[in-house]
């Protein structure tokens, strides 16, 4: 336990929250996109909301 050097607070924060923040921003872009326009904006929505859907399948079913 004591062998590892202590990480600084900001780097520990980003270690935990960088990925959730990126996924959150992508999801919100997806939620808003289809509200603003049609066609290409709809497709952007499917990608933005598809990303978390694919990630949960990936992390739930991968072997490790």
């Amino acid at each position: 336990m004591q062998t590892k050097p202590k990480k600084s607070v900001p780097s520990r924060f980003w270690h935990v929250f960088a990925a959730p923040l990126v996924i959150g921003l992508v999801s919100i872009a997806g939620l808003l996109s289809a509200l603003i326009g049609d066609h290409i904006f709809d497709v952007a929505s499917w990608i933005g909301l598809g990303a978390p859907s694919i990630l949960i399948c990936w992390y739930a079913f991968r072997r490790r």
């Binding site: 607070v9 520990r12 924060f13 270690h15 935990v16 929250f17 960088a18 990925a19 959730p20 996924i23 959150g24 921003l25 999801s27 919100i28 939620l31 996109s33 289809a34 509200l35 603003i36 326009g37 049609d38 904006f41 709809d42 929505s45 499917w46 909301l49 598809g50 978390p52 859907s53 990630l55 949960i56 990936w58 992390y59 739930a60 490790r64």
Partner: protein
């Protein structure tokens, strides 16, 4: 850095808000699943009226003929609302009531062909399995108190999500993002799944949860608008006597459309309903883009002279309500969006279910043991 004490505080907030709202949230997620597809289900069971098969260039009849036809079809009833088909079908819907403000079993919704004014067969919307699911989801058959209660549960859900994110921090300190340890113990597997699923669908659950809360306030929000902006718009007519007959609704329709030619008409409220005045038709206009189609702009038409008396954009609080509706329903991005909405809804069910499982499976473990589990990322098994 969070201190021991604050971690314990946030853990207890997460535990108690979750415990109170989980059963209701499970009900909402399960009933919400078929509601995502209510249009497709309605089509499948033939709940939508079908327009008569006529040549495509058949002209539309006057809307006044449709009102006559609606009155003939329901003797003793008065017209409350007229609305138009969302998908551009030549169908006009009439809301009819025993009085202009009747609701529930004293009000009906009828469909008419827009070219012949003939009544069209239509399943009553307030019957059947889908209506049961809808009522359960909206107010659990308890009216406004039921709606507000579910709104409060939604608020607890949002607090549970926020506190969950806070305690996700110390738990994940020594773990990689998305870690799911499947071989250690069932509890650790479900704890990891709970964290992984919860944090990935975070933005969606907060948005759908919070917009759901706003939707539960629909009735008070619209009442506020009636006492605020609508009252102000009709103030000059306050002391005028009620009309014995109304001017043409077709004229009201055309006058409103001329005043805002870039807009479409969503619905028209007849005089004496809660959405108009004793002296006015209120023609609710909507924009043409996905966003502006949710923002209504009422045009008030004098029901004696048929002239436009006022037209204003609605205030910020109704705008908030109208934008919350699509963001809660997921009906603004075609079928792929509905499917993704369903996937994320099912993921939410897993987060709720795993949370409940973790609480039920806490058994002999003490609060300090669970806090240690949380802070070590479950490196040491709980209740050893």
């Amino acid at each position: 850095m969070l201190t021991q004490k604050t971690i314990k505080g946030w853990y207890l907030v997460h535990k108690w808000t979750s415990l109170v709202c989980t059963v209701f949230l499970l009900m909402l997620c399960i009933t919400g699943l078929p509601l995502i597809f209510h249009e497709e289900i309605d089509d499948l069971i033939g709940a939508h009226p079908v327009a008569i098969n006529l040549p495509a260039d058949t002209p539309l009849t006057s809307l006044d003929n449709i009102v006559k036809s609606a009155l003939a079809a329901r003797p003793g009833f008065v017209p409350q609302f007229m609305s138009f088909d969302d998908h551009g079908e030549p169908i006009v819907y009439m809301g009819m009531g025993l009085t202009p403000t009747s609701q529930g079993t004293d009000a009906h919704f009828d469909a008419f062909d827009a070219r012949t004014a003939e009544p069209l067969a239509m399943h009553p919307f307030n019957e059947g399995v889908m209506y049961f699911i809808f009522k359960l989801h909206v107010d659990m058959f308890a009216g406004l108190p039921g709606e507000l209660f579910l709104g409060f549960m939604g608020l607890l859900f949002v607090i549970a999500i926020v506190s969950g994110v806070v305690i996700y921090g110390p738990f994940m300190r020594k773990l990689d993002f998305g870690t799911v340890r499947k071989t250690k113990s069932t509890r650790i597997k479900w704890l990891d799944l709970h964290n992984m699923l919860g944090v990935i669908i975070l933005a969606w659950t907060i948005v759908v949860g919070f917009t759901g809360v706003i939707n539960t306030l629909a009735i008070p929000i619209l009442q506020l608008w009636q006492y605020d902006q609508l009252a102000e718009m009709v103030a000059p007519y306050k002391d005028k006597p009620a009309l014995s007959s109304f001017s043409s609704i077709q004229v009201a329709h055309d006058v409103a459309l001329k005043a805002a030619p870039e807009m479409k008409i969503s619905f028209i409220a007849f005089p004496e309903t809660a959405f108009s005045s004793k002296h006015h038709y209120a023609v609710f206009m909507e924009g043409a883009t996905p966003l502006t189609s949710k923002l209504l702009k009422p045009a008030l038409i004098d029901a004696e002279t048929g002239s436009l008396t006022d037209m204003r954009s609605m205030p910020w609080y109704t705008t908030a309500l109208f934008i919350s509706q699509p963001l809660h329903f997921g009906d603004y991005g075609g079928m792929p969006m509905k499917i993704l909405w369903a996937v994320l809804d099912i993921a939410t069910i897993f987060v709720l279910g795993s949370g409940l499982y973790l609480w039920l499976g806490r058994r002999r473990s003490s609060l300090p043991a669970r806090l240690a589990e949380l802070q070590s990322g479950a490196a040491e098994p709980v209740s050893a």
